[in-house]
Amino acid sequence: MTDQTIASHVSAPKPAAKPARGIWRQGWQRFARSRTGMLGLVLVLIVVATAVIGPFVAPFDAQDQSPMLDPGAKAPPSWTNPLGTDRMGYDVLSRVIYGAPTALAVGLGAMSIAAAIGILVGGVAGYRGGTTDEVLMRFTDFFLVIPMFVVILAVVRLLGVAVVDTPFESVPYLNLGVIILLIGVFSWAPIARMTRAEFLRLKNQEFVEAARCIGATSGDILFRHILPNALPSLIVIIALGIGGAVLAEAMIGFLGFGDPAAVSWGQLLYFNYQALKVAPWASLSPGLAIFVTVLGFNLLADGLTDAFNPRAKN
C-alpha cells in the first residue's frame, strides 16, 4: 500500500558522491594506450595463468624425481623435458611452473600486509596532522632505513632454529609464511609515505570542504572521498611493490633461506647455481621467470602512472 502522505515523497538523503566512474573508465582508456602498460598487463596475466592453470597441466609433479632415471640429471632440453632436467633430477619446466603460485602468493600476500599497514599509518598521519603525524613519520622513517633483506635473513634462520622440537615445527609452509609476513612488514613504509602525501594534498581541497558542509562525517570523508582519490597513486606503488616482493623472496631463496617445502624460483636457483656451467637451463629458466614477473609488474606500474597521471607530452 503506497503511503500518500508528503513524507513518502521525501527521498532519503543521497550518499555523498563517489568520484565519478568516469575517472576509472578514463584511466582504463589511457592505460590501454600505453604500450608499456599493456605489455606489462600481458606478462602479468601470463604469470597468473601459469600459477592458476599450470599445476594442472605441468608434465611432472613438483616433487617428481623420476627424470633422474631417464634421461638423467642435468640433461639438456628435449621433447620429454622441454627445459631439461636439473641437478637433482627434477623436470625444470614443471618446477618453474610450480614456482609461479609461490611467487604470486608472496607478491600479493606481502603487499596486502604492506598496504594494510601503510595505508593505515599514512592515512592517519596525513589526515590528523600535528604530533600524530610527526610521531608516525619518525616511525616510518625508522622502517625505511632498516635493511630489510639483512634482517629477514637473520630472522628466518633463527626462527627455523627456534621452532625445532616445538609444536610449530609441523605447521606447513611456516617458513614461507614468515617470509611473506616479514617482506610485508618491511615494505609498508613507502606506501605510508605516499598515502600521507596524498591525504595531505586531498584533505585541503575544496570538495572535502564541500562534503563537510553538507554534513558528511569524518568516516564518510575518509572512505568515500579521500581514499578513492588517493587510490591511483597507491595502486602504482603497490604494483611496483609486488614486483619487489617477488624479487625479495627470490633473493632469499637464492641464498638458501627459503622454505624447503615450497617450490620457489629463488630456491631453484639456489639448488642449481653450482651447475651453471654444465646445466645452464636449470638456472636460466627460473631466472627468466623471475625477470618476466618483475618486468611485468614494473611495466604495469609504468602504464598505470601514465593512465592516472598523464604527463603533458609535447
Binding site: P147, V150, L153, V155, L158, L159, M251, V294
Partner: protein, 325 residues
C-alpha cells in the same frame, strides 16, 4: 649558525635511529631464543671454552636489558667479540671483508653516476629522438632485470662461454693474471662491478633524464639563454646542477639498497665481502658475527642517509634549515 643547529638535530636523530636499530637487532635475535641453548641444539660439538667465552661476552645470566646495554657498550668501544667459527676478533673480520665490499660498491656507484649524468643529459637534450627512446628503453629494462639474474647471465656469458673473466672470488689462488696481484684483483672485480653498475646506472639515468627534461623547460634556463650565456654553460653548469639536486636523496637510497642486497651480489660471484660473511654467519649461527655485521651495515646505512640530507641542505638554498622540505 643555523647550519649547526640543523646538523645537530639530524645527528641526534641519527643516533636515536642507531640505538633503535641496534636494539631491534639485539632483541629480535635474542628473543627467538637463548643463543647459547640454540647453538648447543644445533652444534653438539661446541666446547666448554667457547660457551664460557660467550657467557662472559653476553652476560647471559643477566636480564635482557642489561645484556643489551652491555653489548652496546662494547660496540661503542669497537669490541665486537670473537667469532665462534673463525676464532678471530669480529672487528678485524668485518674490516677485512668489509673492505672487499667497498672495493666493488664504490666504483660501481661512481661509474654509474658518471654514465647516468652523461646519458641522462644527452637523452634529455634530444628528447623524443631515437637516441632518447633507446636510452629510456634500456634503462627501463635494466631496472626490471633482477640484479642477481644479470650477474648469473654475465658469468654465464663472459666466464663460462667466452672464458674472458673469472667466475668467482676476488683473487686467483694460483697464477695471478699476468703475474701481477693488482691486475689480478682488478680483473676479478670487473664482473661484479659491471653488474652493480648496470643496475645503478639504469635507475640513475632515468631519473637524471627526467629531471633534466623538466629543468630544460623552465623559464630560468630560457632567461639565461636570452641573456647570452653560452649554451655549454647553461646546460652543463646551471641546468645540470638544478637537475642533480633531487638525485641526491635517491642516491642515498640507492647506496642503501646496494648495501642491503650485498649478500646476494656477493653470493653470485662468491665474492668475499661483508655480505658473504653475514650469510655464512647466519647459516652457521655465528652470533657475534651476525650481530656485529648487522650493526655495522645498519650504521653505514644511517650514515649514508644523514650525509645525503646534510649535503642536500648545503647545496640547495631553497631548503629551510629548520624542518627540511
Amino acid at each position: 649558525m643555523r647550519v649547526f643547529v640543523f646538523l645537530a638535530r639530524r645527528l641526534i636523530f641519527a643516533i636515536i635511529l642507531m640505538l633503535g636499530v641496534s636494539a631491534a637487532i639485539f632483541f629480535l635475535i635474542n628473543a627467538i631464543g637463548n643463543p647459547i641453548e640454540l647453538m648447543m641444539a644445533e652444534t653438539p660439538g661446541m666446547t666448554g671454552e667457547v660457551i664460557e667465552r660467550m657467557k662472559g661476552y653476553y652476560g647471559l645470566d643477566q636480564p635482557p636489558l642489561t645484556r643489551y646495554l652491555l653489548w652496546l657498550g662494547r660496540l661503542l668501544h669497537l669490541d665486537f667479540g670473537t667469532s665462534i667459527v673463525y676464532n678471530q676478533p669480529v672487528g678485524s673480520l668485518i674490516a677485512t671483508w668489509g673492505w672487499q665490499t667497498l672495493k666493488i660498491q664504490l666504483p660501481a656507484i661512481l661509474i654509474a653516476l658518471a654514465i647516468a649524468i652523461l646519458f641522462g643529459v644527452t637523452a634529455a637534450r634530444r628528447q623524443h629522438s631515437r637516441s632518447d627512446f633507446t636510452v629510456m628503453g634500456t634503462a627501463l629494462l635494466g631496472q626490471s632485470l633482477p640484479a642477481f639474474f644479470l650477474g648469473i647471465l654475465l658469468i654465464f656469458v663472459f666466464s663460462y662461454t667466452l672464458d674472458w673473466l673469472p667466475s668467482y672470488g676476488a683473487y686467483s689462488t694460483r697464477n695471478p693474471l699476468w703475474g701481477s696481484p693488482t691486475l689480478d684483483a682488478l680483473w676479478h672485480m670487473i664482473l661484479p662491478v659491471a653488474m652493480l653498475t648496470f643496475f645503478n646506472t639504469a635507475t640513475l639515468t632515468l631519473l637524471m633524464r627526467s629531471n633534466m627534461v623538466d629543468v630544460l623547460k623552465s623559464d630560468f634556463i630560457a632567461a639565461m639563454r636570452a641573456s647570452g650565456i653560452p649554451e655549454r654553460r647553461v646546460i652543463y653548469v646551471h641546468a645540470l646542477r638544478a637537475a642533480f639536486i633531487p638525485m641526491l636523496t635517491y642516491l642515498g637510497l640507492l647506496i642503501g639498497l646496494m648495501l642491503g642486497t650485498a649478500p646476494v651480489t656477493e653470493s653470485v660471484f662468491t665474492w668475499p665481502g661483508l655480505g658473504s660473511l653475514y650469510v655464512a654467519a647466519i647459516h652457521q649461527l655465528d652470533y657475534p658475527v651476525i650481530m656485529g655485521a648487522s650493526a655495522v651495515i645498519a650504521f653505514m646505512l644511517i650514515c649514508t642517509t644523514l650525509l645525503t640530507d646534510v649535503i642536500y641542505v648545503l647545496i640547495d638554498p631553497r631548503i629551510s634549515l629548520e624542518g627540511g622540505p
